[in-house]
Amino acid sequence: MTFLINVENWEWSDIFTITLVGYSVVFLVLVLLIYVFKLMPVVLNYKKRKSVEPGGAKMKGTEAHYVAGEVNAAIAMSLILYFNEQQHDDESNVITIKRVARIYSPWSSKIYSVNNVLR
């Protein structure tokens, strides 16, 4: 289709151009997303406030949010501790995907009766 450069006889200027444009586009995309998500809560809250107004002061705004955020942070901490532990543990107990499921009788009656899949 529209080849920017000659694939065989490229020049360094082309390379730098691709780099520059490419890197800028990555920023462009994410900057647009940033604006959208900066605006979104404003729009949504505006709509909500309008519909809530008659009912009274239901929303405490940002403060309430931060509380929830603290909870998140606590969860994050416990997670990190959990993962750390898991990583340094020699016999890692990562196992728990147990479907309580006895895996009974597969293919060609290969029940392998003695297989203790869930150790």
Binding site: S92, I97, R99, I103, P106, W107, S108, Y112, V114, V117
Partner: protein, 428 residues
Amino acid sequence: MRKFATVFTIMGLLYVLSAFFGQAELYAQTAGASSGSLANALNVFWKHTGFSSVDYKYLLMIAVGLFFIYLAIRYNYEPLLLVPIGTGIIIGNIPLMEGFQIGIYEEGSVLNYLYFGVLKGVYPPLIFLGIGAMTDFSSMISNPRLMLLGAAAQLGVFGTFIGAMAMGFEIREAAAISIIGGADGPTAIFASSKLAPHFIGSIAIAAYSYMALVPVIQPPIMNLLVSKKERLIKMKPPRAVSKLEKILFPLIGLILTLFISPSALPLLGMLFFGNLLKESGVTNRLAETARTSLIDIITIVLGLTVGASTQAVRLLEDPVTGEMVNKGFLTSGSIKIFVLGAFSFAVATAGGLLFAKIMNLFLKEGNKVNPLIGAAGVSAVPASARVAQQEGLKADPSNHLLMHAMAPNVSGVIGSAVAAGIMMNFLL
């Protein structure tokens, strides 16, 4: 109500009958294109129904399919396979008009797309992946010498190979048929997809039929070859196997077997890969999926299409004479395959039993092998291991052989895959 339904049924029957007596067709021909469209339509409809081209052979096959399903439900014989295969047999033997992309052998049909994975040998390795992810090789690792029994039982494979040649099969067909003696469905399907694709259906169905009948086939042979005294031999309980050994097993097994028999790579590579996923302890979610969703999906599709590939009548032009020849399921080939299949299971069982007796000649007292577990070398996991256990209990109700029988049982799977690989090496 009854009146009502009756009216409709009679109408329907009238249609059918009129078509049956061929009058519709006649009328259509004489009356020209524009008139007579009802008779024409009825004629077309009739020609498309299964009734128009039905043959007793199709009905016979449908009866076989129903019988498989009956066995599976009533006696719990390999239901995970016999139900899909039985249904497949029924579906594959609905008499069809060709050219409408419905039948399994017509390009572009749904069944044909699903059959692709059988024809190219893609499904059996995926089944082996799941089997690897659910098999515990401990009993084999803890008592490795019992693996010899799994090797010995491959006598069934090689004996059947000679037998099939004697019965006049082409050499590659004989090799494919011989793998029935390995008593492993996926291995037999894989080998025949490479060596004799036109026999996939017969070979698969023979293999699974006899695997379902292991509890019937093996005990008489045991009675013949194993003395009462030998049956009483008690074996030491196997030692416990460490986690590390379990992890090393699939890796060593993979490298060793594939260096010696690279043609077994698709089967054994996947089997050991699945087992590594299970034993590594860090990939449980992959092992879990491999032994549930993945193996189930493949089992459903494989069973159904293998069953459906057993079309009773399949007229193909003979490349030499130009005549139309029936290359379907109901030919002398299939019957011979069934005879050879029974033979192969018997020989394999005898091979395992006799080899165990030979081993005992070399073993010290107290270390001897109970010959009954030799029969488990045919694999047909775990049916033949259970037969060994039950026969052992008959002689001595306190002699549990199951754990010991699992070793030859599982090594028989490896042995058959290696045997299939060798056959492909020599004959592809």
